[in-house]
C-alpha cells in the first residue's frame, strides 16, 4: 500500500518532495510580499492622511472579511486582465500573462499582508513614544530614527504575531492548488486520483504540512528568543 510513496519509478516520492519545496517557495514568497504589504498598510493606517488611512482600512477589512478562496479566484481569473490594463496605461499593447506561481504568490501575499498590517501596526504602537522623543532630542533625523530606533524594536514586538501570520500563510498556500500549481495538495490530488490510494496520499500531505508547521514553530521560537535576548525578563 505504501509503495506508491517510494522514490522508485512507480513511486510518487520525488513529486511529493518537489511539491513540498514548491509549497515552501510559495509560502516564503507570499509571506515576504505580505510583510511588504503589511509595512505599507501599517504606515498608511498610522499616517495622518485621511484618504490613505481609509484605503488601508478598506484593504484589511475586505481581505480579512471574505474567504481566501474568493481572493484566489479573483486573481486567477481576473489577474491577467488587471495586469494587462495596468500595462496598457504605461503604453504596452500586448497581453500580459501571469503564471500560476505569480498568481498564487500575489493572492496569498495579499491575504497575508492584511493580517501583517494589523500585527505591524500594533508593534509600531507599542514602541514607547519617549524613545522617539529621545532620538529627536539627540538630533537624529526621521530616517535615522526609523532605522535605529523604530524598526529594530518593531521587529521584536512583531515577531510573535508574524509567526502566527506565517502559519496562516503556509496553510493558505494549499488553496493555490485550485490553480493547478504543483504544490503538495495538487500532487497529492493527482497521485490519489491515478493510484486510487486517496487515504494514503492525503495522509501524506497532512504529515508534510505538520512537518512544515512544527519545523517553523521551532524556528520562530528560536528567533523570538534571540530577539528578546536584550529584554529584561520579569
Amino acid at each position: 500500500m505504501l509503495e506508491v510513496l517510494s522514490f522508485g519509478p512507480q513511486g510518487w516520492g520525488w513529486q511529493l518532495l518537489s511539491g513540498t519545496l514548491m509549497t515552501l517557495a510559495v509560502a516564503v514568497s507570499a509571506f515576504g510580499t505580505g510583510v511588504v504589504f503589511g509595512a505599507a498598510g501599517a504606515a498608511a493606517k498610522l499616517s495622518g492622511n485621511l484618504p490613505v488611512r481609509l484605503v488601508a482600512e478598506v484593504y484589511t477589512t475586505v481581505i480579512r472579511g471574505i474567504p481566501e478562496l474568493l481572493v484566489i479566484y479573483l486573481l486567477f481569473f481576473g489577474g491577467n486582465e488587471a495586469v494587462t490594463a495596468v500595462a496598457q496605461l504605461f503604453g504596452y499593447d500586448g497581453r500580459v500573462d501571469l503564471n500560476a506561481f505569480t498568481v498564487g504568490v500575489l493572492a496569498v501575499g495579499l491575504i497575508s499582508g492584511a493580517y501583517s498590517t494589523e500585527v505591524i501596526r500594533g508593534a509600531v504602537r507599542s514602541v514607547p513614544p519617549g524613545q522617539i522623543e529621545a532620538a529627536r532630542a539627540c538630533g537624529m533625523g526621521r530616517f535615522l530614527t526609523l532605522r535605529r530606533i523604530l524598526v529594530p524594536q518593531t521587529l521584536r514586538y512583531a515577531l510573535p504575531g508574524l509567526g502566527n501570520v506565517w502559519q496562516l500563510t503556509l496553510k493558505d498556500t494549499s488553496l493555490v492548488s485550485v490553480t493547478a500549481l504543483a504544490e503538495i495538495m495538487r500532487i497529492a490530488h493527482t497521485g490519489a486520483g491515478s493510484t486510487r490510494q486517496y487515504f494514503v496520499f492525503y495522509t501524506t500531505a497532512a504529515v508534510l504540512y505538520l512537518l512544515l508547521t512544527s519545523l517553523s514553530t521551532a524556528v520562530f521560537e528560536r528567533a523570538e528568543r534571540r530577539a528578546m535576548r536584550g529584554a529584561v525578563r520579569v
Binding site: 472579511g65 479566484y73 479573483l74 481576473g78 496553510k171 488553496l175 487515504f199 504540512y209
Partner: protein
Amino acid sequence: MNWDIMISSVPTLLSGVPLTVQLVGLGEILGLVIACLATWGRLSGNLAAVGVSRLYVFVFRGTPLLVQIYLIYYGLGQFPAVRESVLWPILREPYWCAILALALNTGAYTSEILRGAILTIPHGQVEAARACGMGRWLTFRRIIVPIAIRQALPAYGNEIILMVKASSLASIITLLEITGLARRLIPQTYAVFEIFIVAGLIYLGLNFAIAQAVRWAEWRLTPHLRARA
C-alpha cells in the same frame, strides 16, 4: 464595470446563503461539542485523555482545512470497511463531509479558546465556592461556566467569522454555496470583478451581522461592566 451582470448575479449568489449558513451553523454546533470534549480531556489530568486531546489539536491546527476535507471526503471512501458501514450514507454525501471537516477543524481551535478561558478563572473563585460548600458540579455550573463564557466570547466570535470564510472550501467538493455559485458564474459571464464584488459584499454582510450579534451577546453577559443607569 457591467452593472447588468452585477445586478443579475445578486439573486443567484444570494441563493447560496442558506447553504453557507447551514454549513457554518451545523459545523459550529458539532464543533462546540467536540471542543468541549477535547477541553475536558485536556484538563482532566488523565494522561491518555490529555495525550489524545493534544494530538487532536496539534493535527487539526497544523494542517490546512483543504487536506482535512479531502481526507474525509475522498480518503475514507478508499476503505471497503467504511463503504459497508452504517455511516456510509452520511460519509458519501459531500454536505455531511464538509460539515464534519468544518466541525473537526473549528473544534480544535475552539478547544484552545475554551482552555484559555477556563485557565483564566481566578483560583480564589473556585476556592470560595468550595468554602461555601458547593460540590464539583455546582461549582462548574455556577462559577466556572459563566466566567469562562464571558472570557471566551470575543475569541469565539472571531472563530465563527473564520468559519464563515472556511465554509467556502465546501465548494471544492461540489457544494454550491456562495463561493461555489460564484465559481460557476465566472466562466459563464466573464465578469470576474462584478461577481467577486457581489460575493464579497454578501460575505462581508454575513460577517458584519455575526460580529454585531457577538457584540450584543457580550453586552448582555457583562451587566456588571456597564455603568449603572
